[in-house]
């Protein structure tokens, strides 16, 4: 094998890693070859071990790191960490069929959880949609039927706020479950890769525990600041939701007091609008069939399993 072939193969194994980790690893190996010199190329490859071995160690190391690191900002990075975890489990020699079956079961379970949470999110989103359109429709008729319009707008605002709240909570849950899966896969990879090479360097679990103290001292203040910032942002969101709820209820009460009734109703079948909110005619105008949506998603998730 030539050096270029070695590097091509290594690139192939590592291509799923986040770009930064990918580049750092490739640079390291390129530099290693440069230092060894052209004359020592064969020796260098022999010393390094196969590209596959090298890639597996890098991936497992990264998965273990993701496992005990603070959660990443942004869902994309979290999903990427999850992907590294899955790769690591595949790389770690889990020859035991039991472990494979276990991983598959857990993965299926996680898909189901994601589907349920996703449908909750959709419920929230459809509530937002219904609320916004109810408010908008009734505002158009504010001159002809003021009390009804105010009541419907109030109800719409309330619905929007509640929907936003549900969406935020569901989003949090999705992030938390992605994070949980990342941790689980990292842990699995770590557990099973430990016995990989009895004469190797080991996986460094014990060493990883020891320097916890300096690491915290090193990165502690920054992590704390970031945590506080995230918490501040989240509490502002919830405050906005609560304020919108109060505003909606107030509007609804005012409208109701003057004899107006909201043209929106919510039942187990979904969110319906009628009367004023639906454009002045009686009967169903818009129909957000939440239950049907949930059923559909669950059905698809089942098929995917």
């Amino acid at each position: 094998m030539k050096r270029t072939e070695y590097m091509t193969e290594l690139r192939k194994y590592l291509k799923r890693l986040p770009q930064e980790d990918f580049e750092a690893a490739i640079e390291y190996f390129e530099e290693y070859f440069e230092e060894a010199g052209e004359a020592q190329e064969a020796q260098a490859m022999n010393d390094l071990g196969t590209p596959k071995q090298a890639a597996e160690q890098i991936i497992v190391e990264l998965a273990v790191k993701n496992c005990d690191e603070a959660p990443q900002k942004g869902i994309r990075r979290n999903f990427s960490a999850l992907w590294v975890g899955i790769l690591a489990v595949c790389a770690a020699p889990i020859a035991l069929p039991l472990a494979g079956a276990l991983a598959a079961t857990i993965a299926a379970l996680m898909v189901a959880v994601l589907a349920v949470v996703g449908s909750v999110w959709l419920t929230g989103a459809s509530a937002v949609l219904a609320g916004v359109s109810a408010s908008a429709c009734s505002l158009l008729r504010i001159t002809t039927s003021t009390a009804n319009a105010v009541a419907t707008t109030g109800f719409g605002v309330l619905l929007t706020a509640l929907g936003c709240g549900v969406c935020i909570a569901a989003w949090r849950l999705i992030q938390a479950s992605v994070r949980g899966m990342t941790r689980m896969f990292g842990w699995l990879a770590h557990r099973f890769s430990k016995k990989q090479e009895p004469c190797g360097y080991g996986s460094g679990q014990e060493a990883a525990q020891a320097p916890k103290q300096p690491r915290e001292a090193y990165a502690g203040t920054e992590a704390l600041r970031e945590k506080k910032a995230v918490r501040g942002e989240s509490s502002r969101k919830w405050l906005a939701v609560a304020l919108a709820c109060v505003a909606g209820i107030l509007l609804l009460c005012v409208g109701w007091n003057f004899g107006g009734r909201p043209g929106v109703c919510v039942d187990t079948k979904g969110i319906h609008m009628y009367g004023e909110a639906a454009g002045g005619e009686d009967g169903l105008f818009m129909n957000f069939d939440v239950e049907g949506l949930v059923q559909e998603i669950l059905h698809e998730a089942k098929d995917a399993d």
Binding site: E35, D47, L48, E61
Partner: protein
Amino acid sequence: MVFTLNGPMLDFLVLSVIVQGDAYGYQISQRLKPLSDAKDSTLYPVLRRLQTQGLVEVYDQPFQGRNRRYYRITKAGMQQYDRLCVEWKQFCAGIEQIANGGNRA
């Protein structure tokens, strides 16, 4: 080799090499070679981990028209090194005591 290096020992050795002076990856590999049968690619994840743990930091220096990435010990790395030194001495003393216990002069 009869006796093998495990994770913490490897951390200790890598830190020791870097404490003596900034070093690049290949150089560290060569220093550790006499002690281990393990493949050199195992060193990269170790360096990467020490880096994320804030025990070592890297800087680049041009060398013959290309780049050399040097590893340098940090303050936290120094503390960890000192701690591992103490641990290692205790460990060695314990081994010696048992291994040579029968034929002490």
